[in-house]
């Protein structure tokens, strides 16, 4: 979709800072001394399992949840004690929450009228925002006359119409079918390209959405932030077991750390096999080796180990055909390992001994935590 550039795009500016924010619901801690910095103009995704506190964090930024402790700032302004109406935010929720008795135009104009903007300015801004999300042909429709994807676009236009400092998205794609969700994800990415100054806090339980859209990701569990970083770095180098398992598929193999070698590498032992992996500051002799299933390939059984790769003997247990990929389930030194490969012409039979290959740089050493 071709969008007109937002004439007022530059006015979207302002990061979010949450410092030591604690929220309790009737004694239960939903958010525990939570800290988060979202740079102006960036997209930060909050992900985590149900009940981890991600929506509470977003609602605290919006002002719908009052923190028991801590401070929240938007664009450098302390908004902790301010009502939502005074925070300069736009928000889109899972149900879109379009006002059912108002047309598309009235929905988008609502915030501007509530702020007492003059009629001509409201009409111009509404037209601009509807064009921005490609809904200018649906101005007089009621929400019930729109599809889920169209309702979502109107909700985004309504949130953007007031030129908010930050845009808060609470699982905005969860109610959509998979194909529409993928299309809307692309549209959200395109929207942010059109509005590069817009700061977005995006809550989702879908790691794919977070990886596709966000420049940074924070992973929450039990009201705490367990990991945070640039999306690719967090995926490539998860700092702990939870992050590795929650963000993408991961094989976590128990290994013994034998020693450090030059060049920031370490030697670990998995069964009888020695492997070279990037060193990490791991205390103790035991660690977890994180390998993504798609970073492992099959090697010839006779292949020799080189500095550029690790070889791992394994026994094939099961082969699953998944259409676009083959998933192999193998046994390595008594531990289960999954390998995702492009479709195989002749998949090996279960029980076959195989050699696996992976580049040292594709492995991550994590602190040992029981599963």
């Amino acid at each position: 979709m071709t969008r007109p550039a937002d004439a007022a795009g530059a006015s979207y500016a302002g990061g979010i800072a949450m410092t030591g924010v604690t929220v309790r619901y009737r004694g239960t801690v939903a958010l525990d001394a939570f800290c988060l910095e979202v740079a102006a103009g960036s997209i930060m995704a909050l992900i985590g399992p149900s009940g981890c506190g991600k929506t509470t964090a977003l609602r605290a930024v919006a002002g719908f949840v009052r923190p028991d402790a801590g401070r929240i700032a938007i664009a450098g302004r302390d908004v902790t004690g301010l009502p939502p109406a005074a925070r300069d935010i736009g928000m889109v929720v899972q149900s879109y929450a379009l006002f059912p008795h108002m047309s598309v135009v009235e929905n988008v104009a609502f915030g501007l009228r509530a702020r007492g903007q003059p009629g001509p300015a409201v009409r111009a801004r509404v037209a601009e925002c509807l064009a921005l999300v490609g809904m200018d042909g649906f101005a007089d429709r009621l929400p019930r006359q729109l599809s889920g994807g169209q309702q979502q676009r109107v909700a985004i236009a309504r949130a953007l119409a007031i030129r908010p400092q930050v845009l808060l998205l609470d699982e905005p794609l969860s109610a959509l079918d998979a194909p529409i969700r993928r299309a809307m994800l692309d549209e959200l990415a395109a929207l942010h390209r059109d509005l590069p100054g817009l700061t977005v806090l995006y809550v989702t339980h879908d790691q794919g959405e977070a990886l596709t859209l966000a420049s940074r990701i924070a992973i929450l569990c039990g009201g705490r932030k367990l990991a945070e970083g640039p999306s690719q770095a967090l995926y490539r180098r998860p700092p702990n077991r939870f992050a590795a398992e929650f963000l993408g598929q991961a094989n976590l193999l128990e290994v013994a750390v034998e020693g450090r070698v030059l060049g920031g590498m370490a030697t670990v032992r998995l069964g009888d096999t020695r492997l070279k992996v990037p060193d990490a500051d791991i205390a103790g002799a035991r660690a977890l080796l994180c390998l993504r299933p798609h970073d492992i390939t099959l090697a010839d059984a006779s292949a020799a180990c080189s500095a550029a790769c690790n070889l791992l003997p394994a026994e094939l247990r099961m082969v699953h055909w998944q259409g676009e990929r083959h998933l192999l389930e193998l046994c390595v030194a008594g531990q289960t390992l999954r390998v995702s490969l492009p479709p195989l012409r002749m998949p090996p039979a279960p029980g076959t001994s195989l050699a696996l290959r992976f580049a040292p740089d594709d492995a991550t050493l994590l602190p040992h935590e029981p599963g």
Partner: protein, 265 residues
């Protein structure tokens, strides 16, 4: 559908139709018949006449209809305003306080109407608030009788309203009054009209409390009907009942029309 065969379904519909006719149709039909009757000594009436219905056009029944409609409108509108305010205010209250306040708001619906009338009579028959003998005590009685229903209907409507709608409105910069005017009340319109209609219908038929407190200058139709039937003028009472039903239906039809217009957008 619990009944699978067409024969079973038609039998069930027939039985239901007969029951409804027996419970609702027969009494209403007999009242209409009685209003047209000059004499009713046997199984069927005789000497059919329009004189009883024509009598309702006289000054006294017209005044009673006017008193009933004005009382119903005033009481149901006041109850609607109070019930809406109470339901909105109680949304902010949590825990035990909320349960107690809900009990207080619902209490009038649990009291016998005659007790409400007696209570008002005792409370307002002496200074500092002397309402006995005025229209105001009738209005107060009707307000008490219908307020709980108005509160209940509005509270049920509010409970169904997604909280996200008002929250999004708030995030867009709308203050409390703007949200109430543009979001909450328009979305509650069906419940508000239903609460008004129920309150008006209940008020139009209210007798127990009214008969305890009404002044001679403000006789409502139910009091008039009661007085006529007490004096043995059953056919005149039936004609007044037809007038009462017609007045009630006319106002309720107007409210329904308003509701359709509001919901037609």
């Amino acid at each position: 559908m619990l009944l699978w065969s067409a024969a079973a379904r038609s039998t069930a519909w027939t039985v239901l139709g007969l029951l409804l006719l027996l419970v609702y149709g027969v009494p209403l039909g007999l009242i209409l018949l009685a209003s047209l009757t000059g004499q009713w000594n046997g199984v069927l009436p005789s000497h059919m006449t329009l004189s009883h219905l024509a009598g309702t056009l006289r000054a006294e029944p017209a005044a009673q209809l006017r008193a009933s409609v004005l009382t119903g409108l005033a009481a149901s509108l006041a109850a609607l305003a109070f019930g809406t305010w109470a339901a909105l205010a109680l949304r902010r209250v949590r825990g035990g306080a909320r349960r107690w306040l809900e009990l207080v708001f619902f209490l009038p619906s649990a009291l016998p109407s005659i007790s409400v009338g007696l209570g008002l009579l005792v409370a307002f028959s002496r200074p500092p608030l002397l309402l006995n003998g005025t229209v105001w005590i009738v209005l107060a009685a009707h307000f008490v009788m219908v307020s709980a229903f108005a509160y209940g209907m509005v509270a049920a409507g509010l409970a169904q309203l997604p909280a996200e709608l008002e929250q999004i409105a708030e995030s867009l910069g709308a203050g409390p009054l703007y949200r109430l005017r543009r979001i909450t009340l328009p979305l509650l319109a069906p419940q508000l009209l239903a609460a008004f209609s129920l309150g008006f219908a209940l008020s139009m038929g209210e007798l127990g409390a009214t008969v305890m407190v009404y002044p001679p200058s403000w006789v409502t139709l139910p009091v008039g009907i009661f007085g006529l039937s007490d004096r043995g003028a059953v056919f005149d009472a039936a004609a007044l009942t037809v007038l009462l039903a017609a007045g009630t239906v006319a106002v309720l039809a107007g409210a329904a029309r308003l509701q359709r217009l509001a919901g037609g957008k």
